[in-house]
Symmetry: C3
Subunit: 423 residues, 3 copies
């Protein structure tokens, strides 16, 4: 069943031929999820070449504030410099390569390496290196910078020398959806990192369909499970939910129009470098928030909006993120690969900057549904990883409601092809 | 001492030349036990090509009962279908490859994937896949079946398309030994999985000799340590045990003849695909069971046999199992490779189906000796793995009493040669 | 930023070209610290070809005493034989390769394998192998010996057939410094093994400079932080320490002269196979020992020396050790690689053989400073390993005070070149 010759092939051609023979309409072959060489390609072709969602402005509100993120093997610092500009640097000292700052968030006037006290300004310039001879030129040893930009309070970095050019267009189109919620000035209410036992693409794919949403009883109270379905392929048991959805949809559209909130669906998943999808949509029950009764969990509302019954703004950004913004809070999700079968999911909850925990919101109420949903998804992703690791696995067919999963895979394969052609 | 060039050789030829230069009479070279490439060959040439002991009928007595087993990277389901036939399937959903059933035992009318609810009958047919278009043909997406058969209540699976043809002959010869104990209708009293820190072959080799049995004080109370010795090479300190053995042997043979129980030794370890050894033999002390005093630990006896003083039926099956059947219980051992230096040993204790725990048997008494022996063997296997991992290791000579270890290695090398020639 | 072609190069040339292009004055390229192939080269070219500090005579004072050490993948036994000679053997049974003795220290008349009781004398000869035929020749199966020698109570082993010839010269030059402390007859007061999350070279490099000593507040009470600095490159904040050092230096030199203790610096780090450095030097505060007040923590003094105010004898031996001898105790450090990013640091504290714990010394007081320093260094080494693992790392410049780190790297690269040329 397994050819004895499998392990003998030279490595480069394995990737290229797997990319070349990818069958449309089916899940990817196993090595894309399990093989160390393919994982290396994902880091090189996807994570070092695209804009990666890395942080939120709200993590670094003041000059000197910083937060760290590991993008595959690259430790990165995101900080706000003395002029209040966002900056990002490789978190690697230019002396003997020590990791400059410990993982986590903090605030500092200068960035001081914990090993030999090399000291950098918030602009990355080397300000002080002890005991150097006169010939030493600090200007040669500034921190290596990383492209960084904020879009409506969401911070993206790009490790490439030349980031994808289409991001300007994407930013211009999504920013009007985000700005009314003023995430730039929000407050971080909670952040969690969980390590999922599966490939990063399984984490992304799982998020692109609600075909599995039976496994999310908490989420399904407020989240219409009709995501990805059309009138034609709607399963009968989702019919009542769909009827409720249509009523809620009509009502929220009126509100969006009245408040001037953009809500049209834009879905450009596999025809550009920066694949994305954005939509403002109704929620079930009270229709305000991801809570047990659908009512807002926090006052005041983000951006000072006048009503909580706004459904949710759903944004998906390839390669590694998705977002939900409801009237009272926002949740950001960042997918960070560790190994072929290990991925960090970083989740951040944002609320109005003046909201006080215990007074204006209860943290457990605020985070309960997505914490549960993340855990359920982690089990599903692990289940997928384990089955795909069997040599008996072969790619299977997507259902129509999984069209966004397929679009993600199309985008992914196209991105690999471009990278391999460049090489 | 180590050539600097060692790591530079291309991989395929390393295995082939190691197989080619294998020296008779000595243990195998280190890479067979430590190297990831050689381990891959073991999975491909041994575990996917031979009949693997995977379960017992007693784990799946009723229609819908299932149990899972991982054969290297292959998760497999063994189940009893609606017609009460044994079936085995790859435990991989045909949709996007999720592991279908969680590891363990259970019972189900249908097999429902925990991810998107694809639902299979106990015959493996896809019965229901939600939200598919009319063009979807479920008959293309049945579970992939695995060959399975029961021999006297012991369940073997084979991942190959064409299983070794000689298994029919082996089954026909061992079944008469097994049938009087009616394991097919026995009850599972206990099952344990332990992970040993050594290669699967070290676990098998360790079981093929009693040269190390000084390390098993509990087992040695009832198990004659003369296993593998002949009159000529019997060590002096085993002489008294041998004398007792001869007396017990004469007595049990009379019983076997009287009850019509086959007992002759058949030993065909290295001259066929399905190497095996079977023998009915006396035990020490009361001669009935593996207990501190040698007396049976459970009533009623397996198969309703009329006397407990039956010694033990010892069966060894290559590549991955051995069995002891005594009058009151049976113990099965399945060796399941995880990595070059990690192996699961799964042990299952069987008793008469009407025996009730706490009434007819005490579980601790029943399982004590082999639980202790397994733990002792795990330490020995880890000791072997650690020493063999030294580049200073070189294959050493087998003692005459280790002839079965050598026969196992002969069989193994022959099987690798055949697989490499096929390739 | 990372070439997609990186993983495709054949392996041997990667090491050779990295060695060939090593830039003087800068830290090494990342693969020397992170890559499994380069790690294999370190074992083959460094750890199997040089004299490795493995134990102290005081661990094996009596005939039959033994201690074990793992040098990369090689488990080794160091023991004192019946004639009171030091011996070293591969800790691998010549039968089927089991690890012969468990890790740790002990005492035994014979070395008995825990698997099948093969029994070796303390001279390594196979004395007894059970159940062998007459044709078996035990003289073919003695333990494989390893070169071993003691220098002033410090035990070095060499796995090579032909150890580096220059060790005689090194031994002759360092022994006069060591002998007055009579470490040969000392007592082991404590031993610790910690696993550091970094490459073995980072552990060695970290020890070769005090540029980072701000991170060692406990050590800095007694250890002059001026190590590696010259008058010219002394940082201003070290000026007061240097002044105290000059005074203490003058005083201890007088004492060394009076007692006939050699103290001159010898520094031959990168011009020979057995790179080393030795120096007797003053300590701060009371100047006697590594304690909070600098006073001796143990009486009687090592070697029965008449005064405790002797500063410290600092010895560094490449590839894997350093030593501090103060009047009342000695500390040995052995660096033992486990994996590219895992290293054992074994630390042993020695005191006068008649010193009694709880009476003549308090163990916590004796071990406190270097236990804390080791922990701090382990954090720094992990920090270095993590940063170097970023593809954004590039080798940076050494400060003048790090000249010994550079000398170590020069030595290392020269040793690799010689090994690759031999191959």
């Amino acid at each position: 069943m397994t050819s004895l010759g499998d392990t003998k092939a030279p490595e480069g051609p394995r990737v290229r031929s797997a990319v070349a023979r990818r069958a449309a309409g089916r899940s990817l072959e196993a090595p894309f999820y399990t093989d160390r060489e393919f994982f290396g390609l994902d880091i090189a072709a996807i994570f070092t070449r695209h804009w990666i969602f890395a942080a939120v402005d709200a993590e670094v509100p003041e000059p000197g504030d910083y937060t760290t993120v590991d993008i595959g093997p690259y430790p990165v610092i995101v900080l706000r410099d003395e002029e209040e500009n966002l900056r990002a640097f490789h978190n690697v000292c230019r002396h003997r390569g020590a990791r400059l700052l410990d993982a986590g968030r903090g605030s500092a006037g200068n960035l001081v390496c914990g090993y030999h006290k090399w000291t950098y300004g918030t602009d990355g310039a080397l300000r002080y290196a002890p005991s150097q001879p006169a010939s030493f030129d600090p200007s040669c040893f500034g921190l290596k910078s990383v492209h960084v930009r904020s879009v409506g309070g969401l911070v993206f970095v790009c490790l490439a020398d030349r980031p994808p050019a289409d991001f300007d267009d994407v930013a211009a189109r999504i920013e009007p959806y985000l700005l009314p919620h003023d995430l730039r000035h929000a407050k971080v209410a909670a952040r969690s990192d969980i390590v999922e036992d599966g490939n990063w693409k399984l984490v992304m794919e799982n998020n692109r369909e609600c075909y599995h949403c039976d496994g999310h009883p908490e989420l399904l109270r407020t989240f219409f499970p009709t995501y990805g379905y059309t009138e034609e392929n709607l399963p009968p048991q989702l019919r009542p939910a769909h009827e409720r959805y249509l009523r809620a949809d009509a009502e929220t559209r009126e509100t969006y129009e009245r408040l001037g909130l953009p809500y049209a669906l834009i879905e450009e998943l596999d025809n550009r470098a920066t694949g994305f999808r954005i939509q403002r949509d109704a929620l079930d029950l009270a229709g305000e928030s991801f809570t047990a009764d659908g009512k807002a969990a926090c006052r005041p509302l983000l951006g000072g909006l006048p009503t909580p019954r706004l459904g949710h703004l759903a944004l998906h950004m390839q390669p590694n993120s998705w977002f939900h913004v409801v009237a009272d809070h926002a949740i950001t999700f960042s997918v960070l690969p560790l190994a072929p079968d290990k991925t960090v999911l970083r989740t951040t909850w944002l609320v109005h900057p003046e909201a006080t925990e215990g007074v204006d919101y209860d943290l457990d109420t605020l985070t309960k549904i997505w914490t549960a949903t993340n855990e359920q998804d982690a089990h599903l992703v692990a289940r997928a990883q384990r089955g795909i690791s069997s040599p008996a696995y072969e790619p299977g067919p997507y259902a129509p409601t999984e069209y966004q999963v397929e679009a993600f895979c199309n985008w992914y394969i196209t991105r690999l092809r471009e990278a391999l052609d460049d090489d």
